[in-house]
């Protein structure tokens, strides 16, 4: 290990860290926005559920390297275009979150929904003001899994030339330089654990009632 390599290449490492963060987190945000209406549909209609949940499962079984390579052919992009990685990770995020959103909405007590209806909430407002906020704890659990696995998957993209910190792996392999690889693994795990902790904290902060209702903090 040659630890002095790290400060000497600070700019390179920070640049890759930034790229890694963008490649991993943009898909989480876009995926969440796409998954909420789909999950809502899957929770409402049995027909939609019987299509959406199994197809999400099939999408999730496709290996990441495969998607990175096949997407340019489908999207018409260049193979070295970062869009391929972003779109592939959006696919995984949506596949994971559709189920989370449907489960989260199903876990909202029927009584509460009925009470909201009785108080005169129209369906759209009832969803935004009652069902969606109450589904946040289960939804955040799904988001945490999606975020951590995205951060880990971005580095696979290095095999096709775009992979944030993953480029430290491929470069370190070509130069036979373990320090670079250990740095990449350490930063990637640190990023995942920080993002996980941030989501956990955010979930707790926006659902103060779940702490008041159950001392165990589960919902």
């Amino acid at each position: 290990m040659i630890w002095s390599w790290i400060p000497r290449n600070g700019d390179l490492i920070l640049g890759l860290l930034g790229q890694h963060l963008v490649l991993a987190l943009v898909p989480v945000v876009v995926g969440l926005v796409l998954a909420v209406p789909l999950g809502w549909l899957a929770n409402r209609s049995r027909a939609a559920r019987s299509v959406l949940i199994p197809s999400a499962g099939v999408l999730y079984t496709i290996p990441s390297l495969v998607l990175f390579i096949v997407l340019p052919g489908i999207l018409g992009t260049q193979i070295l275009d970062p869009v391929n990685v972003v779109v592939a990770l959006i696919v995984y995020t949506v596949a994971l979150l559709v189920r989370s959103v449907a489960d989260a909405l199903a876990a909202v007590p029927a009584m509460v929904v009925a009470a909201a209806t009785a108080m005169g909430f129209k369906p759209a407002r009832r969803f935004l003001a009652v069902e969606f906020p109450l589904s946040v704890p289960v939804l955040v659990a799904g988001l945490r899994v999606a975020t951590v696995s995205n951060i880990s998957l971005v580095s696979i993209g290095a095999v096709i030339g775009i992979g944030g910190l993953g480029q430290l792996f491929t470069d370190g392999y070509q130069r036979n330089f373990p320090t670079e690889i250990v740095t990449g693994i350490g930063l990637s795990m640190l990023l995942a654990l920080l993002a996980d902790a941030a989501l956990l904290g955010l979930g707790r902060a926006i659902t103060p009632w779940s702490r008041a209702a159950s001392p165990r903090g589960t919902a």
Partner: protein, 255 residues
């Protein structure tokens, strides 16, 4: 549809189906790495998960380990092992083993932990020894979650085994990496399709095995842990009585 025609053309070429670099040989290599890693993973993870689940001690360690290892980038681990140990079957199987263990450990632990306490009490009341309780009652009852962990582990290992080609190994990843290096897009796309098909076929086989092995009495067991979102069709839900909703343990009792 040009791409599809190219993939079909590549797959239809008889040259790609024979010899040590043909598709059947690559599929076998892929299954060899994956199978070995999953088998070793089962040998390591299932006894530990079952023991921790049975005694209830050290559960936080299992959960922490499973979550922490999920954040580990597979490619980095594999490359690091190859640089440290040299190229061979060992680094590939160890890297894949590290991926297989967390889902297996978590699935076994959660499965044994979630066995109805009254069932375990009944077994103990009938005079079963602790070993018998674990082997004859808790493990069979934990099969839905345990096999769920096995499926997750197998899928992840098969997907990552494709990455192994980057460090000069065989398996279906060879078509992806070789195709990439000479910009032979049909070969890459065909290799990608082969990996995806292999993953889907293995997943379908394991799903079939799960249906065959899990006792019919446990079919609704999964709904207890994962809300099915299908209230009318959920036998574990006892109705909209407030007493049931405020007490998830009640709603989870199998009829």
């Amino acid at each position: 549809m040009n791409l599809l025609a190219q993939i079909v053309g590549w797959l239809g070429d008889p040259q790609h189906w024979s010899g040590p670099t043909g598709i059947p040989a690559r599929v076998l290599e892929h299954l060899e790495y994956s199978g070995l890693a999953v088998l070793l993973g089962v040998l390591v993870a299932v006894p530990i998960g079952a023991l921790v689940g049975h005694t209830g001690r050290g559960g936080f360690l299992i959960v922490g380990l499973a979550n922490g290892l999920r954040a580990l980038p597979d490619l980095g681990l594999l490359i690091l092992l190859v640089l440290l140990v040299g190229i061979g079957l060992l680094p590939v199987v160890v890297a894949l083993l590290v991926l297989a263990v967390p889902p297996l450990l978590a699935g076994t632990y959660a499965g044994v932990r979630n066995v109805d306490a009254s069932v375990v009490d009944a077994a103990r009341g009938m005079g079963m020894r602790e070993r018998e309780i674990l082997l004859k009652v808790e493990l069979p009852n934990s099969l839905p979650l345990l096999l769920g962990g096995l499926r997750a582990a197998t899928l992840q290992v098969i997907a990552t085994a494709a990455v192994a080609a980057y460090v000069s190994f065989g398996g279906l990843g060879r078509f992806l990496i070789d195709g990439l290096s000479v910009r032979d897009y049909p070969q890459m796309a065909a290799g990608a399709v082969l990996v995806a098909v292999l993953a889907l076929v293995v997943e379908a086989i394991l799903a079939g095995v799960q249906r065959a092995v899990v006792s019919p009495g446990l079919r609704s067991g999964g709904a207890r842990i994962r809300p099915s979102g299908d209230p009318e069709n959920d036998p574990t839900r006892l109705g909209d009585d407030p007493a049931d909703l405020s007490n998830p343990e009640m709603a989870g009792v199998n009829p």
